[in-house]
């Protein structure tokens, strides 16, 4: 059955070189296969190319060479229009610095996650869906609070809710606990475990061995080269 189902992510000989001067080979001949529903951690020292890899996976950036298959489809050559469509419908992002809009409530920030969907649903329905998603991350009591009045952990939970509202195929997290203390880190990791438990593919970039330990599988990047850990 696993053989018939395409992998969520398949990278074949992927390169990313930042044009200089001097040119930086941030990723060198990466081969990576992430089966559907896997929880993968990417670890590596600063400047090793983790974020570069995540940007490629998230279709925010294009590989300089190589092939990227997302759910079995070659997306390396897609036009921006289709890449945007994939980001809107297949991919969810969680960032280290949350990237919430300060002037909007938690609920509105989560609703923003569905703004660019092709299908537009009535605002009331969307708000109800956003409220349910916020409830699922334990923020039912903070729907109307602006991010400035939330703790760091709560902010990241809002950001996770925003990423989850579209039920993405692939959840990409770049240092999701980088700005959090250990207590909040545990909460966020618990949430990611839940997401994984629902069958979604989760990729987490982290420095933190404790965070990496939550994942099913770990890969390491050093100086642009990817290696399996364990």
């Amino acid at each position: 059955m696993t053989t018939t189902q395409p992998a969520a992510v398949e990278l074949i000989d992927v390169e990313r070189t930042y044009p200089g001067p001097p040119p930086v080979r941030a990723l060198k001949q990466i081969d990576l296969r992430i089966p559907r529903g896997e929880y993968l951690a990417i670890i590596g020292p600063s400047g090793s190319g983790k974020s570069t890899l995540l940007n490629l996976l998230g279709l925010l950036d294009r590989p300089s060479a190589g092939t990227y298959r997302l759910a079995g489809v070659d997306v390396s050559g897609l036009a921006e229009r289709d890449r945007a469509a994939c980001r809107a419908q297949l991919i969810g992002f969680v960032f280290q610095s949350f990237h919430l809009l300060d002037q909007r409530s938690s609920l509105e920030n989560v609703m923003l996650g569905a703004l660019y969907q092709h299908r537009t649903e009535p605002t009331a329905e969307l708000a109800a869906r956003a409220a349910r998603t916020l409830t699922s991350v334990g923020l039912a009591h903070r729907l109307e609070a602006p991010p400035s009045r939330l703790s760091g952990g709560e902010r990241q939970r809002v950001a996770i809710a925003r990423a989850l509202i579209n039920h993405p195929e692939l959840l990409l997290c770049d240092e999701p606990t980088g700005n959090l203390d250990s207590g909040n880190t545990a909460t966020v990791l618990g949430l990611l475990d839940n997401v994984h438990a629902t069958g979604q593919t989760v990729v987490v970039i982290t420095h933190d061995p404790e965070v990496a330990a939550h994942a099913q599988r770990r890969v390491a990047i050093t100086d642009g080269n990817l290696t399996e850990v364990d």
């Binding site: 974020s51 940007n55 998230g58 925010l60 950036d61 759910a71 079995g72 489809v73 070659d74 921006e80 229009r81 289709d82 945007a84 469509a85 994939c86 980001r87 809107a88 419908q89 297949l90 992002f93 960032f95 610095s97 990237h99 809009l101 300060d102 002037q103 909007r104 509105e108 923003l112 996650g113 703004l115 660019y116 969907q117 092709h118 299908r119 537009t120 925003r162």
Partner: protein, 404 residues
Amino acid sequence: MRPWAIEPSRLTLRQLIAECASSLVARPGRSALTALGVVLGVGTFVTVVGLANTASGQISSAFDALSATTVTATDARVSDSGPFPYPSDTDARLARLHGIVGAGTIWHLDVSPDQVGAGPTAETLSTADVYAVSAGAWRAVQPRVTQGRFYDAFADRARQRVAVIGAALAKRLGITTLTTQPAITIQDVPFTVVGVISSSVRDPELLLSVSIPRGTAQALWGSPGAKTAATVVVATRNGAASQVAGEIPAALDPTDEHAISVTPPPDPRSLRDQVGNDLNALLVVLALICLAVGAVGIANTTLVGVVERTAEIGLRRALGARPRHIGAQIMGESAVLGGVGGLVGTSAGILVILAVSLARHWTAVMSPQLALLAPAIGLGVGSIAGLYPASRAARIEPTEALRR
């Protein structure tokens, strides 16, 4: 090749407007200051154009009310067949014409001034003219009655000996009230004063004179002759003057259309056009400069906003926005700023026009086209100002933006 059949990202117009509005409302102070330039520009523009319209409107409304609706007709026959007799049903014939407010015949009576005297005191007067005024002429001349009334068509037909006198003359004669039925004599014929008029825009001479019914005058002193040529005075509705002027000769004498010479009112447009053109041009240029400054202000603030909101733009791209969605939002925001600035400017301009008109006792004239055009100008200025920031925002690389 899209085997998932994934539909493209989409931002509906409603969503776009909602996003623009919520971004602008999030920074109210900045939005207000940014729109200020357009408020001033559009406000100046509306004020200048509106005041110019209002000012020339005063001229033309005075004009419309009087000259543009007055037609006079006089005897044009120079032959030996004698003066034009003006049929006794002149008033009725003219009243049938379409667009007529009132029409009647007036002529000067050849009676010497010293034969005019006030009743009991019988004091003679040195200067007072006597006019035969048909009942219908009052509706054409439209003087204001301070006491009593005009005599009517019946008095005219019955040749009643009644008179309407000007307020100035009444004062000279010592007539203060009509309840005592004061009389005046003209060539020893006594007339009862039934009305006193003050102000008579179409025929000011009547203020210093005695007016008696046409029929009475004709019975006592004969038809209008060569020495005392009659005039037909006609008041028309707005815009009907030239048409009425063309119909008058045939109405008075179907057999000889050249018996009557008609003077139509002058064309008011030529007068209106030359009012204050030079000053207006200067002020309009000033308003355009204000608008340009407003546009630069919006462009500048929006550009700064784009730089400040780089991370937000990156996030929106990560959520599925296409470059055009980002561009549309930035452009939309500055268009909304311009449009709202235009609306506020238009309202402010209208208030200024109203204030000036009130102070000067003018009737404010505001063309609906201007009231609609002005906010549209603001919208256009805002859109143009947003072009460059929008294209900059659309080109922001999401990976760069998210590094913030």
